[in-house]
């Protein structure tokens, strides 16, 4: 059976029904006793099952822009997006979708450093489910909208972080999906480019495209129409955006990652 299945006559855009999910994380074997030290000689990592969702129920209607806000540590925002997109399979329960859900995640590996931006546009668009004909047809749009014409033949590792995010953003939008699951980078690039991103996203929203978004409070207020706080294995609150933001608990690792990314951007500009 195919991993990603569509349910065209589903009334909702995405529906999670009684979803259970645990993910496996790598932990180091600890301990300072002789036995524990000896044990580490035969491998010092182990995989641990970390429960994320227990009996999660959530329905997203077509045309909604839902803010997904973390309400506890290991709340599972990324996992929720990946479940929606079909790149994780629930342990129990079901995830149904009307159309393909295209995810845009911070740590997606969509950009490959060893190939050029032009090649990345191709590979990225193909991975996100476009056919070669569609990529050929939309390539011009990607280059024009992203303002990528000068960097096309540069290797991705030589491109600034801001530009890299522009590439990912434009390639993701070029899928013209009916549902997007976007983590952190709702709009990218310098101010002028951000304005263009906003115009584009607002246009999609009024066309009835559905969004699941996790990003800064400011952007959530500007863009979203509904707030969902997740954490502790399920939905904590299904409410307004403002109320959801009030219930936000950023988890520390997440916070550290954001800070590191900002530092990387600054390093780049300093060079």
């Amino acid at each position: 059976m195919a991993r990603i299945q569509l349910t065209p006559d589903l009334p909702e855009a995405v529906r999670f029904t009684e979803v259970d999910l645990s993910i496996s994380v790598v932990r180091r074997r600890g301990g300072a006793s002789t036995a524990q030290r000896l044990r580490r000689l035969a491998g010092d990592t182990r995989r641990v099952d970390l429960p994320i969702f227990r009996n999660l129920n959530l329905a997203v209607s077509p045309g909604e822009a839902v803010a997904i806000v973390p309400g506890s540590k290991d709340s599972g925002v990324v996992e929720l997006f990946r479940l929606a997109a079909g790149t994780l399979i629930p342990d129990a329960g079901s995830v149904e979708r009307q159309h393909h859900v295209v995810p845009m995640l911070t740590r997606s590996g969509l950009l490959n450093n060893s190939i050029t931006v032009r090649q990345n546009i191709w590979v990225g668009a193909l991975l996100l489910g476009l056919t070669p004909e569609q990529v050929r047809e939309r390539f011009g749009w990607i280059v024009k909208f992203g303002g990528l014409d000068k960097t096309l033949d540069t290797y991705a590792k030589q491109v600034s972080p801001l530009m890299r995010r522009r590439v990912v953003w434009t390639v993701t939008m070029a899928t013209r999906a009916r549902v997007f699951a976007i983590q952190r980078s709702l709009v990218v690039g310098d101010e002028e480019f951000q304005e263009r991103c906003w115009d584009y996203l607002d246009g999609l929203k009024s066309d009835g495209v559905t969004f699941l978004v996790e990003t800064t409070d400011e952007m959530l207020r500007r863009f979203c129409t509904r707030g969902v706080v997740i954490g502790g294995g399920g939905v904590i609150a299904d409410t307004t955006v403002e109320e959801a933001i009030r219930l936000r608990r950023i988890d520390e690792t997440e916070e550290a990652e954001i800070q590191q990314e900002e530092a990387e951007d600054e390093d780049w500009q300093a060079e």
Binding site: R3, I23, T87, L105, G109, L126, L127, L128, P132
Partner: protein, 262 residues
């Protein structure tokens, strides 16, 4: 039926072609000699083996004549097999973050490796032509079985590749075990020698090793008499079918865990 087309990735053939071309570009781009390496690597191996076993050890008893051609015809498919299987052990290990966004079937990653290595194999085929010209030994009509053997070998590697990729995603140590097993398999498969070097009673049994059947088909073009009858081939192909089923079933059972680890 829709299940079959999904599994066989036929829908994705054009995407596959583009990605494989890209993979080959990346693999050969930094090398001064580029694609010539697809030829040089197996060439080095066959010349070394020929030198050791024919010139140094005077291996008239080993294999069939002309020995250099006999060796080349088997070493290229063997090289293809080794590179594919060891490539598959790495597919789901480490930096494969694209699994978190990819809308393509998960097993696409495995097939991508297999097809890229198949392209390497096709690029190295001129070596057989050269070996034929040097030894002035030309094929019989059985050469038609050569592409058939390629298809069957691909099927075998698809099954084994899925199995190996799934298991080594769960247990990284498996990649190293596979390396040892492949080295052992090189000597247990009649690449350097022919089946006539195996004790007569044991010959039909060797066909349990599916590569014996496949190499037999490749060599049929030049040495049509060198096999143990069609029942022996049937044994090899049954084993291949079983391995394919095991590979596909194992992969389906661990697919959700592979995704979780990405």
């Amino acid at each position: 039926m829709p299940y079959v087309t999904e599994v066989l990735l036929w829908r994705y053939r054009s995407v596959l072609r583009m990605l494989v071309v890209r993979d080959l570009h990346v693999k050969y781009r930094q090398l001064r000699l580029g694609y010539v390496w697809a030829i040089l690597e197996p060439l080095g191996m066959s010349v070394t083996m020929w030198f050791v076993f024919e010139v140094l050890l005077g291996g008239k008893k080993l294999g069939l004549q002309p020995y250099y051609l006999f060796l080349t015809v088997a070493i290229l498919p063997w090289w293809w097999f080794v590179n594919s299987i060891s490539g598959c052990t790495r597919v789901f290990i480490g930096q494969n973050r694209t699994l978190s966004v990819s809308q393509l079937p998960t097993q696409f990653n495995v097939v991508r490796v297999l097809v890229a290595r198949a392209a390497d194999f096709v690029l190295s085929l001129p070596l057989i032509v050269v070996a034929m010209l040097i030894t002035r030994t030309y094929p019989t009509a059985w050469i038609l079985l050569f592409p058939v053997a390629m298809v069957i070998q691909f099927a075998l590697m698809w099954g084994v590749g899925l199995l190996v990729a799934s298991v080594s995603a769960m247990i990284p140590d498996v990649a190293r075990i596979i390396r040892i097993l492949l080295r052992a398999a090189f000597y247990l498969t009649p690449v350097l020698y022919s089946l006539s070097n195996v004790p007569e009673g044991a010959r039909p049994l060797t066909y349990i090793n599916p590569l014996v059947g496949i190499l037999g088909l490749y060599r049929m073009a030049w040495w049509p008499g060198e096999h143990e009858g069609w029942q022996a081939y049937a044994t090899s192909f049954t084993v291949i079918a079983i391995l394919m089923v095991i590979g596909f079933v194992t992969f389906r059972r661990v697919e959700h865990r592979i995704l979780k680890a990405a």
